[in-house]
């Protein structure tokens, strides 16, 4: 009896040692990326299922695990908690979630900006000023809230002139059909869905603030500095996917189906999304001085709503580095826009 026990223990120890020291687990650095369903991020799904990401990861001798997370905010929280090395998110959420929690993040890829994907919709009234005194249903503290603030500002109103009601995005379309709801601010595909309701009027959308709601892939700055091959593999894969997406309707149809719509529905969303199919365009966008101004707006909105944390004394509490210069505290830079990997892609050096 005792002999058998000792024997099995020895075998077990052997197996464990063999597993721990197996060459496969040691040789390759392994990374993980998370994304959630949105027109500008569907390329990650295609890159994963078509094997393009694996191909580029192999080229640089690393492993990249691509994970789809159903809840957008949860994906960012998981990234901020340290579960993922990279995650797709907007410029504003990158500032208020990871950067505000001290996770120094770099926008590796600037994929697109919203060019009509986010909109303020009224049931009655044809101009934005009619919103005064109404209740506005939106996802509070999201880019919708930012769009509303920018919109109100443009017609000389402020948030005090409306009543904001926090409403989950998943229930926005159903909410719009109820009688108590008169105004909503939301994003696509919900905008397209709500505008189908007779009488719904789009009174202000992101075409009026072009380039301010930006969709990026954020990577931990530290990880990127230590493993530049991760940046190279992801950027290389991204622009290969972009080329396929731009040229092939089949690829777009596949992305559309994966996001729960079809080719027509997906192209309707792409029509209001300014995709940077070419790396050179994205580089030019990041290098322009307007990006710094945009981030100043975003930072001051975030500060006014308490999103930069209680320690923040002003909107410049968190330093934001852009090629045009640093906004805010250069001693506390937590968010960086760095076009260098996209430049390599533009020059064909990947």
């Amino acid at each position: 009896m005792r002999h058998t026990l000792a024997h099995s223990l020895a075998v077990l120890a052997l197996v464990v040692t063999a597993t721990l020291t197996s060459p496969v687990t040691q040789a390759q650095a392994s990374f993980s990326l998370c994304w959630s369903i949105y027109a500008g991020w569907m390329p990650w799904e295609y890159g994963d299922s078509s094997g393009i990401i694996k191909k580029w990861a192999d080229k640089y001798g690393i492993e990249i695990d691509v994970v789809q997370i159903n809840d957008y905010i949860e994906s960012i929280n998981q990234y901020s908690a340290g579960e993922f090395d990279a995650c797709s998110m907007t410029n504003m959420d990158a500032l208020t979630i990871p950067a505000a929690s001290g996770i120094d993040s770099t926008a590796l890829i600037v994929g697109d900006f919203s060019n009509g994907n986010d909109a303020i919709i009224l049931k009655q009234g044809s101009i934005l000023a009619d919103i005064e005194g109404q209740q506005v249903n939106l996802v509070e503290l999201s880019v919708s809230h930012y769009l509303l603030a920018r919109g109100l500002e443009s017609v000389g109103l402020s948030e005090r002139d409306v009543k904001v009601v926090n409403t989950a995005d998943a229930d926005m379309v159903a909410a719009y059909t109820t009688s108590g709801v008169t105004a909503v601010t939301t994003w696509n595909p919900l905008v397209n869905e709500i505008l189908k309701v007779p009488g719904a009027t789009n009174v202000f959308d992101s075409t009026s603030i072009p380039g301010e709601i930006i969709d990026t892939l954020m990577v931990k700055t530290e990880t990127l500095a230590e493993y530049p091959e991760l940046g190279k593999a992801l950027t290389g894969a991204w622009y290969e996917i972009m080329a396929a997406m731009e040229s092939s309707a089949d690829v777009r149809a596949q992305m559309g189906e994966a996001s729960g719509t079809d080719l027509a529905g997906y192209e309707a969303q792409l029509a209001t999304t300014q995709m940077f199919y070419s790396a050179a365009d994205a580089v030019a966008f990041v290098n322009s001085s307007k990006l710094k101004t945009t981030m100043e707006y975003v930072a001051s909105f975030s500060f006014e709503h308490g999103l930069l944390g209680e320690g923040a004394a002003d909107s410049g509490f968190i330093g934001i580095e852009t090629p045009a210069g640093v906004f805010g505290d250069s001693g506390n830079i937590q968010l960086r826009f760095d076009p260098s990997f996209m430049e390599m892609a533009a020059q064909g050096k990947l």
Binding site: N77, I97, S101, I103, T177, G180, V181, L307
Partner: protein, 271 residues
């Protein structure tokens, strides 16, 4: 006989042993927080106890900069009112229908299968329907609790009513009581403490429905705040709110138990 199963800890030892797991959890939290803070000083996932205290102070004892309200108390008030409304309506429905169906077979016949089926519908699954039917205001939040909790209460009261000894009802009849008198004087008083028991058991579910409804569309409430600050991982607010909700649930449960013991001492006599 000195065996482990016969060893009864003293009252003091029992209390001490009861506190230890809580202390261990706090200690484990402190260690986890320290480890994360050592890596990244601004980590928000496991805030230190000082940060949590600041969070409580900010929410509960300082007027909000923008609205001038004490958010913590505003949230608590809204949530408690919704919960009280929902539970009261559900309890009333549970009592009336459960009692009627439990004591009158001709009412039970059509109701029992229906209530059984309704109680099996997951209320959260029909949430979008509720929003369309009742709007996004207070009504739909209260209705979610009512719809979620009352089928359980109806079934429980129905069951308890039918469990009353048949002899009691026969005796009341031989003493000349009619149906109405028997329901009101014999069955109802015996059902009330059981209703309190059932409500206590359903409080957890009621909180779940309340928080779910507040998370989806709201301007205040404990669930609303948790899901709002989740957008920037403000655990220094979320954790105190969770503890507070737990405390409120515990306090409600305790009050109901005391009420039941005070009003229906006979019900607790043999327990």
């Amino acid at each position: 006989m000195l065996r482990l199963i016969n060893f009864q800890p003293s009252r003091a030892l029992k209390t001490a042993l009861g506190i230890i797991p809580f202390l261990l959890i706090l200690l484990g939290y402190q260690i986890g927080s320290d480890i994360r803070k050592a890596e990244n000083e601004q980590d928000k996932l496991l805030p230190s106890f000082t940060e949590i205290a600041d969070g409580i102070d900010r929410m509960a004892f300082q007027a909000n900069k923008r609205s001038g309200e004490y958010l913590f108390w505003v949230d608590t008030k809204s949530s408690v009112i919704r919960l009280a409304k929902g539970i009261s309506i559900a309890a009333l429905i549970g009592l009336i229908i459960g009692l009627a169906a439990g004591s009158i077979p001709i009412i039970a016949a059509p109701l029992k299968p229906l209530v059984t089926v309704i109680s099996l519908i997951p209320p959260l699954a029909i949430l979008p329907v509720l929003f369309i039917a009742f709007g996004l205001g207070e009504l739909s939040k209260v209705m979610l609790i009512v719809i979620g909790v009352s089928p359980f209460l109806i079934r429980d009261i129905l069951q308890r009513t039918q469990e009353l000894p048949r002899e009691q009802l026969v005796k009341a009849q031989t003493l000349g009581g009619n149906s109405w008198q028997i329901i009101l004087r014999v069955i109802l008083p015996q059902t009330l403490p059981r209703l309190i028991d059932a409500v206590r058991l359903s409080l957890g579910a009621a909180w779940l429905f309340l928080i779910a409804a507040e998370a989806i569309a709201s301007t205040d409430g404990l669930g609303y705040r948790i899901f709002l600050v989740r957008r920037y991982m403000s655990m220094d607010v979320i954790l105190p709110y969770v503890v507070w909700i737990t405390f409120l649930a515990f306090a409600t449960d305790w009050c109901l138990l005391k009420l039941s013991r005070f009003v229906f001492p006979w019900y607790h006599a043999d327990k």
